[in-house]
Subunit: 178 residues, 2 copies
């Protein structure tokens, strides 16, 4: 599978802790490789690491990064940069093109919080709206990753970890692996 | 279009305000009709109403409902009840069946917060996992609504309202309607 990295901008510790944790867990569950956080919030990274240890896979989080240098490096290595924003081109109108580039080089997906630095719109190869309506960066990321992987985002395998769910029609069943 | 109603359970005012607002805005943006809140949190309803007034459509929020009586009424009128939970049957394995029932009768989608009352698993017609991994109820709702509507969740029209986005490749453009 190609490399999918999330770059989370503008995270404010305290206020955004839960939303950024949801962003990271969604990225992991839907096949992302890791998340870069421009803020320096160890607590978010720890929450996500805890889930990853328990449920498997090798999703990583790195905090305190510079977004300009991360984007520059990503582009230099041939990767595509997509910024999710309600002002961009609607996903159904651009996903086929992005999917073909992603397969070749991997993708960095930028997810802003309330305010996004103005230069992001120019630095991104694509500014993509997941519907041109205000809603949620978590929902936007989920739909983007799903369409990017052609609907295969829900069937990834997570190797290792301690816990596994046995799907149930009307109950809960969690087993300890190994 | 058939009727899609969200039932949000276990919302704790303060702690869950942002996540529940994201749930409501996601439901609206992806073609939901309205959201029922078991909690009595007028501030969440007001945030969502404000977005709906500005951006159009007729999404509604009703707070302080009893989940048992809402589910009972929904089922009595022939509607399907789906509970999104990581313990359920994975979405790709059940969506075709749910989609055909939804078209006939409309759907109530139950979204829990941290803890869900045990009787929900029995009251729901379907307990559906959006991937059997822990992530986010907002991401789960987005993917569920998208697959339910066969990928057409991002092209709904929102009549009325004051604002509209003109999609841009590298910028922001919002126009005032009318």
């Amino acid at each position: 599978m190609s490399n999918i990295v999330i770059l989370r901008l503008g995270h404010r510790p305290e206020r955004d802790a839960r939303v950024t944790t949801h962003v990271g867990l969604t990225a992991r569950a839907l096949g992302g490789s890791g998340m870069l956080l421009t803020a320096d919030d160890r607590s978010v990274a720890e929450s996500i690491d805890r889930v990853a240890r328990a449920w498997g896979g090798d999703f990583w989080v790195r905090e305190g990064v510079s977004y300009r240098s991360e984007i520059r490096q990503w582009k230099a290595s041939g990767g595509v940069v997509v910024h999710l924003t309600m002002y961009g081109i609607n996903l159904p109108d651009c996903i086929d093109k992005i999917r073909s580039e992603f397969r070749a080089h991997g993708i960095m997906t930028i997810i802003g919080a309330e305010k996004v630095p103005g230069d992001i719109y120019g630095l991104a190869d694509y500014n993509v709206a997941v519907g041109n309506q205000p809603h949620s960066e978590i929902a936007a990321l989920a739909l983007f990753l799903d369409r990017l992987q052609d609907g295969k985002s829900l069937t990834h395998e997570f190797k290792g970890g301690e816990l596994e769910i046995i799907p149930e029609e009307h109950g809960k069943s969690v087993v300890r692996k190994g």
